[in-house]
């Protein structure tokens, strides 16, 4: 896992936060929620691979 992954996730977070604010201010709160969920799904897809490789590493290091 490289450091730029953290920056990618932070960038997605900032974009979603800005879009959220925009949509809430213009009164479309349901679309703001959908944007948040979309950002969440994207970040989760990135993270799940890393979490699974962490678990494999823990399994191999600690002998499960």
């Amino acid at each position: 896992m490289q450091v730029d992954l953290i920056f990618k996730i932070a960038a997605i977070g900032i974009v979603v936060a800005v879009l959220n604010q925009l949509l809430i201010r213009s009164g479309r709160e349901d679309q703001a929620l959908m944007t948040t969920i979309a950002g969440l799904v994207v970040v989760l897809m990135i993270l799940v691979r890393e979490i699974s490789s962490l678990f494999d590493l823990i399994k191999s290091v600690f002998g499960f």
């Binding site: 992954l5 953290i6 932070a10 977070g13 959220n20 969440l40 993270l47 678990f55 191999s60 002998g63």
Partner: protein
């Protein structure tokens, strides 16, 4: 672990913390995932270097006969502790204290399951001596 690697881990942690605080008010979900990502990144680097030390320890313990079966549960309990600590802290960050304590409980149960044969054999040896 070399100093350069430690520096990159420190930088990643601090950056993730600062960025997390920035977006926490608007999207606390993604801030939490950012914390998780930084934690996963650090732990991946840590376990890669710890793994070499553990492998060397395993070779040494393999030399002394009979130590292998008492050494393996110790290692497994360490891994269980790390996993349950990480997930319970992430739950605490999300404000879910009940979930966090339940995860810790699950970790305790898993550790008990792993060390039970060892405890049984110790009790048997003690009983044989009496």
């Amino acid at each position: 672990m070399e100093a350069g690697q430690l520096l990159s881990l420190v930088g990643a942690a601090v950056t993730a913390a600062i960025l997390g605080v920035t977006i926490k008010k608007q999207v606390p979900q993604i801030a939490l995932l950012l914390t998780l990502a930084a934690g996963v990144f650090i732990l991946l680097a840590v376990f890669e270097s710890v793994g070499e030390a553990v492998a060397r320890l395993r070779e040494i313990s393999g030399v002394t006969a009979g130590m292998e079966e008492s050494f393996a549960p110790m290692l497994k309990v360490t891994g269980i502790a790390v996993l349950s600590k990480l997930s319970s802290q992430v739950c605490l960050d999300a404000g879910e204290r009940a979930l966090a304590s339940e995860v810790e409980l699950a970790g305790m149960a898993a550790a008990l399951t792993v060390t039970l044969p060892l405890a049984v054999s110790v009790i048997r040896v003690a009983a044989n001596m009496m």
